[in-house]
Every structure is written in structure tokens, then in C-alpha cells.
């Protein structure tokens, strides 16, 4: 179980006159994520959803607040302990190509969490990677290639494989299908759902700006605006379940699904 308590994040930047600007990316945010459940989070750019993703993956620290992960406050952990804790939570970034080191073979990229976080022999490591590659439908022959030799979909699969290689308890997907073609998007979403059904990926948070994607991925949906969660749904099944004015506005701004609904 993950509990976020009064999480705040404030960025201090300066405008061109040197005046300090405070941006509250997260405002006193509290959330509870239960184990073995999938979640989706919807928000527009600037809503703080990416900040939340980064804080959840502990690549950034909150300005204040606590993150309780299985009874431990991750936000207060020392860097080294935190690094080892990454075995339990992982994140998949938005852009697959740029999140793979161009000079590392796909195999080595996928193996990185295993090598950094666990003491596994090379032969066990190989078994684990082959197994995970099969799970994400990445042919074995591709593992010895470099990222630029793979298609966009294959790169995405490699990123998912990397996050799953240490069998984490929880994975954050930050806008992981944004910018993909629709057919590819569906393939990746279906892959994640498939892994979820197989029990390999029992708990995840899927962050997106697209309500359709959110509805497709999870029953539990959060809507974020200006650093706060403004609506929280359980068992959401359709547009009609959203009540908040902002959520309704987002839905009404969507282009029609068919010319008949113009």
C-alpha cells in the first residue's frame, strides 16, 4: 500500500526580470493507493501530474509531506537506502527512444536494474531477461541490438521490460503512450493490461492526459488540476461517471467519435 500525506512540491524559478516565481506543482496532496489495484490519473499539462509521477518514483523529493510505502516513509530516506528501495517501485517514462542509452545494447539496458539493485549471477540474469522479454513480446534476436535499430513499439516494450526486470511491486507509467500512433498505442495498452491479468504487474498508476486512455486502463481514476486531485472515482466505466465541472469540461472538449455526433 502507498499512502501520500500532504504532499507539496514547490518549484522556485525566476522570470526574466529576476523576480522569484513560486510554482506550486503539488498542493497538500493526499492519496491512498491499495496493493494489487490498477489506477489511472488524468490531468492536463501543468496540472502537476508529471511532478507527482517523479515524486512517486523518488527521482525528486517533495518540498513537504510523506510517502508511506509499505510502512516506511520513502520521502525521508537517505539517497543510498532509497536507491536500493527502487527494487520495489519503478517508472516508465514518456519517450521510449530517448530513455534508452543509445550506446547500450537492449539486453544491457533491460539488465541494468538487476545489476544495480540485486546480486544475481550472470546466468540467472540471462534467464530472467529472456523470460521478461518473452512476456513483453520482444523477440530474443532484438536483445543484442542497439535502440536505434528498433521500431518505436519495440523500444517501448524494452522500457517496460526494464522496469519489470526486478519484479517491482508498483510501476508508474508517465504518459507512456503519448505521441504514439493509435494502433501502436492500443498494442502497448493491451500489453500492460495483459501483464496485469497475468499477475506480473499487479499494481500500477497510469498517468495520462487522455480520459479515454484512463478509462481503458483502470477502474480507479483520479482527475488532477492545479496540483490537487479534484475527483476520485472507483469503478468508473464511462464518461457519465465523472461529476466534477472540470472533468465534464474535459469530456465536452473532446472531438466527436463519429461524424454523426457533430
Amino acid at each position: 500500500m502507498i499512502e501520500l500525506k500532504d504532499l507539496s512540491k514547490r518549484y522556485i524559478s525566476k522570470n526574466k526580470y529576476g523576480k522569484k516565481l513560486r510554482v506550486d506543482a503539488l498542493k497538500q496532496l493526499s492519496l491512498t493507493l491499495v496493493s494489487d489495484t490498477s489506477y489511472a490519473l488524468v490531468g492536463e499539462s501543468g496540472s502537476g501530474k508529471s511532478t507527482l509521477a517523479r515524486i512517486l518514483a523518488c527521482v525528486e523529493r517533495p518540498t513537504s509531506g510523506e510517502i508511506w510505502f509499505d510502512g516506511k516513509n520513502v520521502a525521508a530516506m537517505r539517497s543510498k537506502a532509497l536507491r536500493l528501495k527502487r527494487k520495489e517501485f519503478q517508472m516508465v517514462l514518456q519517450n521510449a527512444q530517448s530513455s534508452l542509452d543509445p550506446r547500450l545494447r537492449i539486453y544491457d539496458s533491460i539488465a541494468e536494474p538487476i545489476r544495480c539493485l540485486t546480486q544475481t549471477s550472470r546466468s540467472d540474469e540471462r534467464k530472467m531477461i529472456l523470460e521478461i522479454a518473452e512476456k513483453v513480446q520482444l523477440p530474443e534476436a532484438l536483445l543484442e541490438r542497439f535502440p536505434h535499430e528498433l521500431s518505436g513499439g519495440q523500444q517501448k516494450r524494452a522500457c517496460i521490460a526494464r522496469a519489470m526486470s526486478v519484479s517491482p511491486k508498483f510501476i508508474v507509467f508517465d504518459e507512456s503512450v503519448t505521441g504514439l500512433d493509435v494502433t501502436l498505442r492500443k498494442q502497448i495498452l493491451d500489453l500492460i493490461l495483459q501483464l496485469n491479468r497475468d499477475g506480473r504487474l499487479s499494481m500500477f498508476l497510469f498517468i495520462t492526459h487522455n480520459i479515454d486512455v484512463a478509462l481503458y486502463m483502470a477502474d480507479n481514476i483520479f482527475v488532477m488540476k492545479d496540483g490537487s486531485v479534484i475527483e476520485q472515482l472507483e469503478n468508473a466505466a464511462s464518461y457519465g461517471d465523472f461529476r466534477h465541472d472540470y472533468s465534464r469540461m474535459l469530456i465536452e472538449s473532446l472531438p466527436p467519435r463519429s461524424p454523426l455526433h457533430r
Partner: protein, 315 residues
């Protein structure tokens, strides 16, 4: 904007302070005891107590930071000591030699300015044309050629074989044409390469496509927008090179027997005339820092966005 200028100025003061400290340290690094050197200059064979007396008088027994404060105080009053070689005050010598070198550098900068902008742009616009390949070759030759050798070649071609210029000639602009060209060619060559690359990357930017779609003529796009966007990195370099040329003039002045600050410094180095060396170093470093302010100001006018970007760098 104002905050930005203030920030740059604070930064500048820190740098200037560092420059004086480094100059001071460079002048103190010598294993030669300055008191003894000074004593030997005024007396034939000074007695040890005489040297100690001089050391006290010159303040050389004080701790290093005290000496630095005294030294900087003298510098601010314009007193850089007097040369061991010419016996003149150092600042007098520098004032005598600097204008000639400045003139040389100014003409060289003029050559650079009128060459790299048009050549760089045309070379980028006509990428992979014959002209572009030619320029590429010439530029590599230009950055690989030793300048003293180029000077001799020029002398041999233009003064001996085809006597357009005199071998030794003083005091007029014509006499500075060959030396300034020698000084300009390596720098101009490296600028052409860099500028061409910057222009090329700008030509691939979205704003060029949209400007075309709005119906703006390609001439206006290239010579207006692309040029303005490609200049900032080179402006910084341009003023940086002004400083280097002051120093690099030593080689050219030696080849063409010009009496400028470079040759003066070189003579001082050979004679181990420390006060002169330190004076020259300080003056050149300060000119260099002043040039970098000028570059900043020009870049600010060219691209107001820089004020935002730089902020992140020092903040």
C-alpha cells in the same frame, strides 16, 4: 533585464578579482628573489643586509595577502612598477606599444568580420555545392597553417616575388595589410566553420518553414531571421579572439618586425623583465574581460531570450 545586468556585473567583479589574484600569483611564482634582483640592479654586489633593507622597503616581508593589497593599490593608481629592461615605467611602455598592436588587431578583426558572415551563410545555404566544398577545404587549411610560416610565405610572394608591399615598412596602413591578414586568417577560418554549422542548424528550424509558408522570401529569411539567430555564439567568440589576437600578435610582430605589445612582451620574457611581463598580462586580461562585457551586451540586443537562459546557468 536590469537584474540580469546586475548579475552579470557581480559576476564580472568576481572574475576581475580572480584575474588580479591570478596575475599577482603569476608574478610571485618566480624563484628569483625580487628584492635581490632589484638590489643587483641598483648596486653592483649588494651586501645581504642591504637586500634585507630593500625587502623591508618594498614590503616583501609582509604576508602574501598584504602584498596583494599593496600591489592592487599601486595598480589602481596606475603604477605598475618600472621595467628592468628599458628603465621606463611599465605603463608608459605599454601606452607606447599598445596602439600599434590595437591598430593591427582592429584591421584583422575587420577582415574577419567581412569574410566569415557572407562566406558562412552562402556555404550553408548551398550546402554540398562546389563552393561549399572549396570553403571547407580552405578553412581546414586556414586553421592548420602555422601563422609565422604564413607570414613568411606572404613576404616571399607579395614583397619579394611580386613586390606589391615593402619587406620592412612602418607607420602606414598599407604596412599593416599583410600582418593583419596573417593574424586574421586562422581565426576567420575557424569562424567560417562554426558559423556555417550554426546557420545550417538554424535553417532546419521550424520558424524557417513557417516563414516560408507565410510567403516570406528566402533572402529575407536567410539574411534577416537566420542571420540574427546564428550570430550570438559567434559574437562571444569574436570578442574572445580579440584578446587572443593581442597576445598572438607576438608571432606576427616578430615575423614582420613590428614594434607592438606582443614583441615587447616577448623581449621582456627573454630578458626576464618581470614588472613588464606582469603589467602586460594584467592589461591584456583586463581588456579581455571588458571585451566579454561588450559581447554580452550585443548578444542581449540580438536575442533577448539569452537573459532568461543565462539565468539558469549562474543561478
Amino acid at each position: 533585464m536590469f537584474r540580469y545586468i546586475r548579475k552579470r556585473l557581480t559576476n564580472l567583479i568576481v572574475v576581475l578579482f580572480g584575474v588580479t589574484v591570478l596575475s599577482f600569483l603569476l608574478s610571485n611564482i618566480s624563484p628569483v628573489d625580487p628584492a635581490e634582483a632589484y638590489a643587483r640592479r641598483i648596486l653592483k654586489s649588494p651586501a645581504p643586509q642591504k637586500i634585507e633593507e630593500i625587502r623591508l622597503k618594498m614590503g616583501l616581508d609582509l604576508p602574501l595577502y598584504q602584498q596583494y593589497i599593496n600591489w592592487i593599490g599601486r595598480c589602481l593608481r596606475g603604477d605598475l612598477g618600472s621595467s628592468l629592461l628599458t628603465k621606463n615605467p611599465v605603463n608608459y611602455d605599454i601606452a607606447q606599444k599598445l596602439p600599434a598592436t590595437m591598430q593591427l588587431v582592429a584591421i584583422a578583426l575587420f577582415w574577419i568580420l567581412i569574410s566569415f558572415i557572407p562566406i558562412g551563410i552562402i556555404s550553408a545555404v548551398r550546402k554540398n555545392s562546389l563552393f561549399d566544398h572549396l570553403i571547407k577545404g580552405v578553412a581546414i587549411l586556414g586553421i592548420s597553417i602555422p601563422s609565422f610560416w604564413l607570414g613568411f610565405l606572404f613576404l616571399f610572394i607579395f614583397a619579394v616575388t611580386f613586390p606589391v608591399f615593402k619587406v620592412i615598412d612602418y607607420g602606414n596602413i598599407k604596412s599593416l595589410i599583410l600582418p593583419s591578414l596573417v593574424l586574421a586568417i586562422p581565426t576567420a577560418s575557424s569562424f567560417v566553420r562554426l558559423f556555417r554549422a550554426t546557420v545550417l542548424s538554424n535553417l532546419n528550424k521550424d520558424y524557417v518553414v513557417y516563414a516560408k509558408a507565410r510567403g516570406i522570401s528566402s533572402n529575407r529569411i536567410v539574411w534577416g531571421h537566420v542571420l540574427k539567430n546564428s550570430l550570438p555564439p559567434i559574437v562571444t567568440l569574436f570578442f574572445q579572439h580579440l584578446g587572443y589576437m593581442l597576445a598572438g600578435s607576438a608571432v606576427v610582430e616578430s615575423v614582420f618586425s613590428l614594434k607592438g605589445i606582443g614583441l615587447h612582451l616577448l623581449n621582456a620574457v627573454t630578458a626576464r623583465d618581470l614588472p613588464t611581463i606582469n603589467g602586460c598580462v594584467l592589461v591584456i586580461a583586463i581588456i579581455f574581460v571588458l571585451c566579454s562585457i561588450l559581447a554580452d551586451v550585443i548578444n542581449m540586443v540580438l536575442n533577448p531570450r539569452i537573459t532568461d537562459k543565462e539565468e539558469g546557468l549562474y543561478e
